[in-house]
């Protein structure tokens, strides 16, 4: 069942007026099925994060339409779109963007601040989310008292606290070493195995290959979709003659 539909989306920035328009995305069409784990790859500046934030209901496209669960995301008012993000989406950022002055439990509870639940209920839910990523024992630690991998898992727990149907991740292993990055990817795989729909931006072909599909984007256009079996992905990418990826291979 199609859960996310990106229809003919383009994004044009005009930092200095019409004369200097920057076409970041051009006529993008993407579909995500419910329970699918899709990776988005592409070189720096290709528009990956822009597409992620457009699907993430916080970056209005210049043209086109984004439907999530048949909701026209950009047909909503700004405030309703904030409610939509709270209800439908979980974000995992590259820098994790944890609040340094809140402990792990409080960071996880952040998306619940507007919920009309008792503090006790919120704590129970937050602890459950921490349990899911294996951080229940470090609930009262501040982010700077956690390792990089733990911070990444904490960011995932925060994204999951509202049990959003769609998890969006922007290079979640980008700042981590290989070992720690693998831990994070394991968490993603486990979540996906439990039915979580995931859309992940990554530079790392091995991580990308852990998804069901890889969408390649280049110069603001989707150029190829690949089935996510490692050998085939690499073959396809090599076949696509993308120099930087060839080097990686």
């Amino acid at each position: 069942m199609t859960f996310v539909t990106v229809k003919n989306v383009s994004k044009v920035y005009r930092p200095n007026g019409d004369d200097s328009a920057v076409h970041v995305l051009t006529d993008i069409n993407v579909e995500l099925q419910e329970g699918e784990f899709v990776s988005l790859m592409g070189p720096s500046g290709s528009g990956k994060t822009t597409l992620l934030t457009i699907i993430g209901a916080m970056n209005q496209p210049s043209t086109g339409q984004v439907l999530v669960d048949d909701i026209d995301v950009y047909g909503l008012s700004d405030e309703r779109r904030a409610d939509f993000r709270l209800e439908y989406l979980g974000f995992v950022f590259q820098q994790h963007h944890l609040m340094p002055y809140l402990n792990a439990l409080e960071n996880v509870m952040l998306p619940l601040v507007t919920k009309k639940e008792s503090s006790k209920e919120k704590r129970i839910r937050a602890l459950a989310a921490l349990e899911r990523v294996g951080l229940a024992s470090k609930a009262v630690r501040l982010p700077n008292q956690l390792s990089g991998g733990e911070q990444g898992r904490l960011a995932i727990a925060r994204a999951l606290i509202n049990e959003p149907p769609l998890l969006l991740a922007d290079e979640p292993t980008g700042t981590l070493d290989t070992q720690t990055g693998s831990e994070i990817m394991e968490v993603f795989q486990q979540l996906n195995a439990q039915g979580q729909t995931i859309f992940m931006v990554t530079h790392n072909p091995e991580n990308a290959a852990l998804g069901h599909r890889i969408i390649n984007i280049r110069d603001g256009r989707t150029c190829r979709e690949n089935a996510a079996q490692v050998g085939r992905v690499f073959e396809t990418i090599v076949g696509a003659a993308e120099p930087n990826l060839m080097e990686l291979v």
């Binding site: 994060t49 822009t50 934030t53 993430g56 916080m58 970056n59 700004d78 405030e79 904030a82 409610d83 939509f84 993000r85 709270l86 209800e87 989406l89 974000f91 950022f93 963007h97 609040m99 340094p100 002055y101 809140l102 409080e106 509870m109 952040l110 998306p111 619940l112 601040v113 507007t114 503090s119 919120k122 925060r158 509202n162």
Partner: protein
């Protein structure tokens, strides 16, 4: 965890900045509280001093013709057929709603009588209230004690040969308000002679309307109509002038710092429908003008201080918003509404303002207490008025909210995608 939890956590995290803002607001509020408190105290003192200059409301009978003049005020004559004021009317004045603003009610009966061959203006008064009202009087002799004791104006005493000038220009006259050092013409606790400032009493018996009276004291020259008058007790003069229970006029002194004199006049008029009640406008206007100038000065300086305080909060909060762009972007990205971002910043500034307001109020009161002796000679008491404390907190909150509104709106409009991506 609620939005307020984020605000508190932020305050705890940025203790230095919060302390800086609290100190800034406190200084502003302390200055305003001190200025307004001192202004109020000075106003009260001026008001008290002005009230010592006498009555500011005059009550006379309704009348078509007037025959006597007293203190620049014409009063009904002896034989007019106007409706008369009664002793009871003086008491009824103290039943008006604003009775707590009235400090003195001084009823009078006026009339003309033969005094040792001269026609003299007699004024029957209640000495207790009259001497309280005429605080500028200075008496040679003592206060009347008996029913037939008199106080005689300087001109009348001269004409009736009750006094004679002294050679060294001194008299024993002392202010009537200073009861603890009352001086007696024939010797007293602090003086053993009568030779002071210009005159002394040489005769203390006087025939008024054929009856002998004792001259208790002579009023030192005032330059007013009382110099030509003879004052006796109200009941006795009512009897002597054959006007039992009647009053010619009632002088009223209202304590009047910003008090509604016109309202008091209306209330007395309602209470005494047969009387003509009027405020001495000159006195009232002079008081109002003095009070207004002080208030305007205090308000102007306060406004400047508060504007400076508001600019300080504005600058700090703008800096705070810039500093927290990423954090605000994350909050927006995870689904907080614009209004919730504004609310979070407003809670922070409200907490800071409340503490700043309370600290400022306390500091302002302390400051007032310390510098009050340099401004007030009469030792006006400083009161811990809870209304000022509430006012201080309210003003601090208002200034805090107004100065944070724009930074908060700006924060709420941050593009979450940009804020998260580039900072």
């Amino acid at each position: 965890m609620r939005i307020s939890s984020i605000a508190w956590a932020n305050l705890k995290r940025r203790k230095g900045k919060a302390a800086f803002l609290i100190i800034g607001i406190s200084i502003g509020i302390a200055t305003v509280v001190a200025l307004l408190t001192l202004s109020r105290v000075i106003k009260e003192e001026i008001g008290t001093q002005l009230d010592q200059y006498g009555a500011n409301i005059i009550v006379v009978p309704q009348s078509n013709s007037l025959s006597l003049d007293y203190g620049g005020i014409s009063v009904s004559g002896v034989s007019l057929d106007a409706s008369q004021l009664k002793n009871e009317d003086a008491k009824r004045i103290l039943e008006i709603p604003y009775r707590n603003r009235i400090s003195v009610v001084a009823p009078k009966i006026l009339g003309v009588a033969d005094v040792e061959g001269h026609q003299a203006l007699l004024a029957g008064v209640d000495f207790a209230s009259e001497l309280k009202l005429k605080r500028w009087w200075q008496l040679a002799g003592h206060k009347p004690e008996e029913e037939q004791d008199l106080l005689v104006g300087y001109d009348a005493a001269t004409q009736l040969s009750l006094i004679e000038p002294t050679t060294d220009g001194s008299s024993q006259a002392v202010p009537v308000t200073d009861t603890s050092i009352t001086v007696y013409a024939d010797g007293g606790p602090h003086h053993n002679n009568t030779e002071q400032r210009g005159f002394r009493i040489i005769r203390d018996r006087l025939q008024v309307a054929g009856q002998e009276h004792r001259v208790a004291g002579v009023i030192a020259p005032t330059g007013g109509s009382e110099d030509r008058m003879i004052f006796g007790s109200l009941a006795h003069f009512q009897s002597l002038l054959d006007k039992p229970d009647q009053l010619s006029m009632i002088e009223v002194s209202a304590l009047c710092i910003g008090c509604p004199v016109e309202d008091i006049v209306k209330q007395i008029s309602t209470q005494l429908p047969n009387a003509k009640v009027s405020a001495l406008q000159q006195s009232v206007r002079a008081r109002a003008e003095t009070v207004d100038r002080l208030t305007r000065f205090a308000v102007a300086v306060s406004a400047v201080v508060l504007v400076i305080g508001a600019l300080m909060i504005f600058t700090t909060m703008m800096g705070s918003v810039v500093e927290r762009t990423k954090e605000i972007g994350v909050l927006r990205a995870i689904g907080l509404r614009k209004t919730q971002i504004i609310k979070e910043l407003m809670i922070e500034v409200a907490a800071i303002s409340t503490i700043g307001g309370l600290v400022g109020w306390a500091a302002g009161m302390l400051l007032s207490w310390l510098i009050l002796p340099y401004f007030s000679q009469s030792g006006v008491r400083l009161e811990l008025d809870p209304k000022i404390a509430f006012g201080a907190v309210f003003v601090a909150l208002l200034i805090g909210a107004l100065s944070t509104l724009y930074p908060a709106i700006r924060a709420s409009r941050l593009d979450p995608a940009e804020a998260v991506r580039y900072v």
